[in-house]
């Protein structure tokens, strides 16, 4: 079916790159709205971690939130480590799971998961640069770079919430699944190998945010998870397509592959 040669393309690389640039501008235009959501989410969480529940619209103490008050006090003197580039104002960058409770634990989980995705894509680019994966089509390279940038944006967003709530940011991927994922990446010998690994991560991320949308209690947090979930799902669709698999296999995004908050590891 695909026997035609590249010169037959009627659109130039320059035109397509311009399209991509337009899309980048679109992305930048949506970011302020997300920032507003995150700021509100952070403000609500900050009130909670300081022990002053606010009457501000939308914050729910919920199941974990009541505990958060005590936990925040108990952990506030234990935050050590270095800050991250994503949120330089953060007090620390420890990854003790016990530091985060309630909504903040889901936020920390999300940041760690995004960092894992960035690590995977960075590793893929590194392996491609060394020739380990064989010939890498340029379009695949663009996919990896674009998806990686979006995951960096997601991680920065979640870390900004942690930072503004006075909690340590997450600069790495302290998850129970990380070791296996890194090992699998190290064993990858081809583009499809890496694509399958990335697909698993994107599916896990999409399902995690689906789970988070239902289980986070703050309206801003719910909306943040809701606006990131479709993006991870889109990454997964393109990866399915590249792998020759049906790109939208499910009529509903499930949660059975979601990474649950208890996957966040203490250091």
């Amino acid at each position: 079916m695909s026997t035609d040669k590249r010169p037959e393309m009627q659109i130039s690389e320059r035109e397509l790159t311009a399209m991509t640039r337009d899309l980048d501008e679109l992305h930048e235009s949506t970011f302020p709205g997300v920032r507003t959501l995150l700021d509100e989410f952070s403000a609500n969480l900050a009130h909670i971690t300081r022990g002053h529940p606010t009457g501000r619209r939308g914050f729910l103490l919920g199941v974990g939130g009541v505990t958060t008050l005590g936990m925040a006090a108990a952990c506030s003197s234990n935050d050590t480590g270095s800050s991250t580039t994503a949120a330089p104002a953060a007090p620390a960058s420890t990854t003790a799971a016990a530091t985060y409770e309630g909504d903040l634990k889901v936020v920390a989980l999300a940041a760690a998961l995004e960092n894992l995705a960035v690590t995977a894509y960075t590793g893929a680019l590194d392996a491609a640069g060394k020739g380990t994966l064989g010939t890498v089509p340029p379009a695949i390279g663009v996919f990896v770079q674009t998806a990686m940038k979006q995951h960096q944006d997601h991680a920065a967003a979640w870390n900004a919430v942690l930072s503004k709530a006075g909690k340590p940011t997450i600069s790495d991927a302290p998850l129970s699944i990380t070791a296996d994922q890194v090992k699998a990446l190290g064993a990858a010998k081809s583009v499809p190998d890496v694509a399958k690994l990335a697909l698993d991560l994107e599916n896990a991320a999409a399902q995690t945010y689906t789970f988070a949308a239902a289980n986070v209690t703050d309206t801003g947090g719910i909306m943040t998870a809701a606006t990131i979930q479709p993006v991870e799902a889109m990454h997964a669709a393109i990866l399915n397509f590249v792998l020759g698999q049906y790109p939208v296999p499910d009529a509903f995004i499930g949660v059975d592959k979601a990474v649950k908050p208890d996957a966040l590891l203490p250091k």
Binding site: L61, A139, V191, I222, A233, P247, P249, A251
Partner: protein, 272 residues
């Protein structure tokens, strides 16, 4: 990798159907939980749920205890309201009905469903239409169980757009552009609905469908770029990645955060 043949594609679709059935069962369980919670709430009298307005209240209260439950009630999303939930479900059903009708029309066109069609595009249109039918059934199923009236009509606002656009369609690219617009509105609507409905189960339902509509959009964006680029032959499963234009790798997912400014208002497709 060689492009797969029609039979291979059908086999993939069958595998996909199996996966989808599992996902559908999960979604149905979520809906059942939601409906059960609402009905439980309505049946109880003298509960701590003022006016029986808080579906899911009984289970939330059970796990949070009185103090925690009080906090939950105090800060429940301002718009929480079962009637509003029904409206959101009906509006969602209206968008699904329009999507189904549009794909059905598209499949009658020679360059989408006929002899001139790209096999992958045709299969995608058929499968996507089937998924929209399932979404509509899920939304209307919840509406019916909640005592509301099923929305069987297409969304009036966007039906007018489709009606205006169809006569101008000249080729597959035009159809794909129209489909992108509809998928985008649906995905943005459901993404926003996640924060507007009143229970975790309903939030999960809207999120799970939003993700699927966004996947439709991603594939359609990639397909449109190739059609507009004069390279429809590269729309194959799998694609010949080596021949794809570089920028095609990122054209399917333009935003790091899914937008919601085109979301339909909750009441837009509600049954009057």
């Amino acid at each position: 990798m060689d492009p797969i043949d029609e039979r291979g594609l059908r086999e993939l679709l069958v595998e996909s159907d199996d996966l989808q059935s599992d996902a559908m069962r999960t979604a149905t369980r979520g809906l059942d939980d939601y409906v059960e919670a609402v009905l439980d709430t309505r049946e109880r009298s003298g509960s701590r749920d003022p006016g029986g307005q808080w579906p899911g209240w009984s289970r939330v209260a059970a796990v949070t205890g009185l103090a925690g439950a009080g906090a939950v009630l105090a800060a429940w999303p301002a718009a929480a309201d079962p009637a509003r939930d029904v409206q959101a479900l009906q509006t969602a059903a209206s968008l699904e009905n329009l999507a189904v009708a549009t794909y059905k029309t598209a499949l009658t066109l020679p360059f989408i469903g006929g002899a001139d069609a790209n096999a992958v595009v045709k299969a995608f249109a058929e499968k996507t239409m089937a998924q929209h039918i399932e979404h509509g059934q899920a939304f209307n199923g919840a509406v019916a169980k909640l005592g509301g009236k099923a929305q069987n009509d297409p969304n009036a606002k966007y039906a007018a757009v489709v009606k205006q656009t169809v006569p101008t369609i000249k080729g597959a690219g035009d159809v794909v552009a129209l489909a992108i617009a509809l998928e985008d509105v649906a995905a943005q609507t459901y993404t926003k609905n996640v924060s507007q409905v009143s229970t975790p189960e309903l939030r999960q339902l809207f999120a799970s469908v939003a993700g699927v509509e966004s996947q439709h959009k991603a594939i359609l964006l990639a397909v449109k770029a190739l059609i507009d680029g004069g390279a429809p032959q590269l729309i194959a499963l799998p694609p010949d990645a080596a021949k794809l234009p570089d920028a095609a790798g990122g054209v399917g997912f333009p935003d790091a955060f899914f937008p919601t400014e085109k979301a339909s208002p909750v009441e837009e497709g509600a049954v009057k």
